[in-house]
Symmetry: C2
Subunit: 189 residues, 2 copies
DNA sequence: CGAGGCCTTGACCGCGGTCAATGCCCGTGG
DNA sequence: CCACGGGCATTGACCGCGGTCAAGGCCTCG
């Protein structure tokens, strides 16, 4: 089950077989059901997940009870509550499977071990941080310069799978609007 | 002039004198005037700046001509157009001094050299990425869950210097609102 | 087959943007 | 040193996007 991750890593890094085996050995397979919670608010993120199939989202709940989705990881992407994972402090967000699927989980301890024992793992981590930063940066920009309809149109262009595979409720919470607004936007196209 | 940076690095890292000297040697001193542009849209970010005094902001211009400020660095903080710097691709934002001040500039080539020759520099870079990610993450969250007045109140609490030292126009563009709205918010307090 | 969650539609409203006018501050040059 | 000009701040009138509340229909799953 780790071959999918192996391919992913080899595509991104010049990693030799020894290193690869050592890295893969630390990941644990995990099956998840739609709506299953992987991490709760106020807990500390103890795992970094690699999505083999299905999808996982990170979201937080506002005072008024509305959900806001920060990030959704599909196949071959990593996800965790990064702020919490980095500092090993309690998180303010939830991780939840948005479809039935399969994951590979890397514990924080294993992550640290890899950082200090496998040289290339530092480069991997840097790459992850760069991607996470870039993604977030782009999202912030889109929130500032686009209205809801523009964000929706752009999402269709960039991540059509998000609209196809997820509920309107989840998509709306990712766009930062209510279900009702999303519903109205869709008829206007 | 590099002693200020030396202190900053020693506070954050277990860096020895050899490494420190090597690192400091790559930074170049630069005096800047208020409103001076350090990087233009469509250029590639060739430097990472450390702010000795004054402040520098990163902003982009929306289609309608409105400015949106992404980040403002005060004393003892680093700034660049990170997406552009990482990939050495053209940026879509501007870097501008918001006060008269002094900087230390590290070129991209020097940065790469440090990454491959000074082991601890990788840790420095990881730390920078983590901080940049965390800052951006927090900003995105504040845009989603707070209205303009709440963001302003929070800014006063967290970065009072921003309101004290910068023009309303700049503060408004950082809050993602117009000058007029900021003006109205201030009388309401 | 029943129940609860999701989606849609309508009525209403408030936050923040737009446009415009005026006043103020400050840097620059005669 | 003063006069001028341009950018910045404030205030008012107006409006539109998107949120809120409510009702009704549909789909899914137990």
């Amino acid at each position: 089950m780790t071959s999918q991750l192996a391919i992913h890593l080899q595509n991104s890094f010049d990693i030799n077989h020894q290193e690869l085996d050592k890295v893969l050995g630390f990941f644990k397979y995990k099956k998840v059901l739609k709506n299953e919670i992987l991490l709760n608010k106020n807990e500390t993120a103890k795992h970094l997940y690699f999505v083999l199939s299905g999808s996982v989202r990170a979201f937080f709940i506002e005072e008024d009870g509305l959900e806001a989705t920060r990030y959704i990881a599909f196949e071959n992407n990593f996800i965790t509550s990064l702020n919490s994972f980095i500092k090993q402090e309690p998180t303010n967000e939830y991780l939840q499977a948005t479809e039935n699927g399969e994951l590979l989980a890397l514990s924080y301890d294993s992550f640290k071990t890899l950082l200090s024992t496998v040289a290339i793992w530092k480069d991997f981590y840097i790459k992850q941080l760069e991607v996470a930063y870039t993604t977030n940066h782009w999202r912030l920009e889109s929130f500032i310069k686009m209205d809801a309809k523009q964000r929706y149109d752009y999402l269709i262009e960039i991540y059509p799978q998000m609209i196809q595979r997820l509920s309107n409720k989840t998509v709306a919470s990712y766009l930062g609007i209510t279900q009702e607004s999303l519903s109205r936007i869709k008829v206007k196209r």
